[in-house]
Symmetry: C2
Subunit: 371 residues, 2 copies
Amino acid sequence: LGFGYPHLVEKKIKRLAKILEENSVESAVLLSKGNFLYMTGIDAVGAVYINPSTEEYVAIAPLMEFWKVASEVEGKMKVYAYSRIAFREDQELPLILGGLEEAVRSFLEKDASVAFDIEPPQSSSLSQSLSGKKTVNAGKEISLMRRRKTEEEIELIKTASEITERALMKSLDQLRDGTTERRFYAELLRNLYNEGADGIAFDPIVAFEENASNPHALVGERKLKRGNAVVIDAGAKFRSYCSDMTRTILYKAESYRILLENLISAYNSALDILRPGVRAKDVDMEARKALSWRGLEKYFIHSLGHGVGVEVHEPPSLSLLSDEVLLEGDVVTIEPGFYMPRKLGMRVENTVLVTEKGGRPLNKIGLLIEI
Amino acid sequence: LGFGYPHLVEKKIKRLAKILEENSVESAVLLSKGNFLYMTGIDAVGAVYINPSTEEYVAIAPLMEFWKVASEVEGKMKVYAYSRIAFREDQELPLILGGLEEAVRSFLEKDASVAFDIEPPQSSSLSQSLSGKKTVNAGKEISLMRRRKTEEEIELIKTASEITERALMKSLDQLRDGTTERRFYAELLRNLYNEGADGIAFDPIVAFEENASNPHALVGERKLKRGNAVVIDAGAKFRSYCSDMTRTILYKAESYRILLENLISAYNSALDILRPGVRAKDVDMEARKALSWRGLEKYFIHSLGHGVGVEVHEPPSLSLLSDEVLLEGDVVTIEPGFYMPRKLGMRVENTVLVTEKGGRPLNKIGLLIEI
């Protein structure tokens, strides 16, 4: 990749500074775990403080996570560790003694106006120190900013998707008569890391035949048999960005092809209408309609998809209850499935970028795999 | 193992019923994620409702997790799914339409007194429906109950520990000149599942030499060299119970033996004083003193350990800030380490049961491994 993570951090700081300008606010404090992960690349209980006018760009991390955060944001943010115990007081480490909120307070003192990403807890020492200051909840704007993925973010998700695909393809020859779910799962995990994953976006799902009638199945000692459908749902992380993909693999199971093709049709129907301005719930409904024509809709018992970024589930939700409208730059999953109790389940899923020209899948391997 | 998970669920219900009796309360509602996991074995946003007088033993699970929960608590608790969308309304599935709190409310209506494990959110529909009822916060008592592990729970943690040890030993021959951290990590993960893990208690840590100076290091492309110390921190889950173990492996690195032996001495010093009635902070201090005699204390920048059960970090905390006293049945880690910035880090860790006779390590393999 032609850019480092610090470059991406710089870009994100600029986007945040723009939100502050639009709200006429001096500084921003991000406290949610998801936003800390977004800004620093590290999944920890920390805070980010930004003040463009004084050029303070700060990450406050738990002591144990200090080194990880420091290496991710190198040169773009100043990193402080916080700890209630004075470990390493004699070292070069910038340590703030106390809890996270106390650490954050010390940065806010001089600011007359602050934007937060969440409502600070009413009872906290932090909220007490805000009296007399103008505060703004910019949570919604930050969420919208995160939804519009930059070119670099899209490249990272694409790389994570490629790693996932290579890991799956390399694992396929382990699907043989008698292979257990657990053994295949172990193989898949190994391949995810060997192909370059920095982590996994979620615990993968590997389910054979009737076990796949549970959409979130756990692995067991079930053995693969001729005529089985195999559902594999997995996603690598690359530089803190997630991927998410599901394939249903037909193992000498020609008679299931028509069912799988029906599911793929539902995927395609939803993909076809994906574009900026479309309501998220209409995309869900489109897949549901396509399955309904085929008698499968009553077995489709979850929402169609969700946003993907540094979190594997983030806005928007492609659900019947969603009131969101798709934006250019949204990266979402489309994942129709059906689950026939105690019999059979299938799901197909790609991660898809929303562009002015429509949905562009970031996965490349086909949806119909028969071995 | 000579007992199923449902047997364990039954035992937990009885323990909970005893707390209700002692508090003269009719029913209990558990809302924290950790307590739901403790009662059902499944890590999900759900609730448990228990009313011994009416013999209602209920788990309320998100629709997607219904089948997992149902299979874990089979015959011992009735399971309901909750969902805001009426998927599967025509099926046998007991579905409650709405959010979790609305689902919980319907069970509480007739009860005059209820114990909770957490303070229900002030603004919620749940807290409104409690007016006129006696409510008790039994969070502390439930936490103490969870700390006193039963014989069956100890067996499960022991099995998880054995899986972790077999996986580590099977991976060791991959530690050769030029092996990368990532490749070894992939191998270790595969072996954890192949040896019978149902999941992992946390993302393992594999760090060579200077990378191990970060206690929570991420894997990279670093290659193993003669003279390196290798820190491996990993834990399998077995039937929802966690294990947690760290070994520092000396790879043709005789000159490091004395440092590792010093660390092991600190471990032994702490283990020696572990027994019911001892203050958790004194155990931490004991290891710190032992390291101090050897000039390593200033590099020991985290707490000595933590409780282990269905959560990999649960009470008690073996920390200087802890005000807890050890109990018979506590299962805790003892994990001293030292971290010399940009140079070297080492840590050793066992999971240890607190008995009347002292600390009994649930790990069996030695702390000093040289290859």
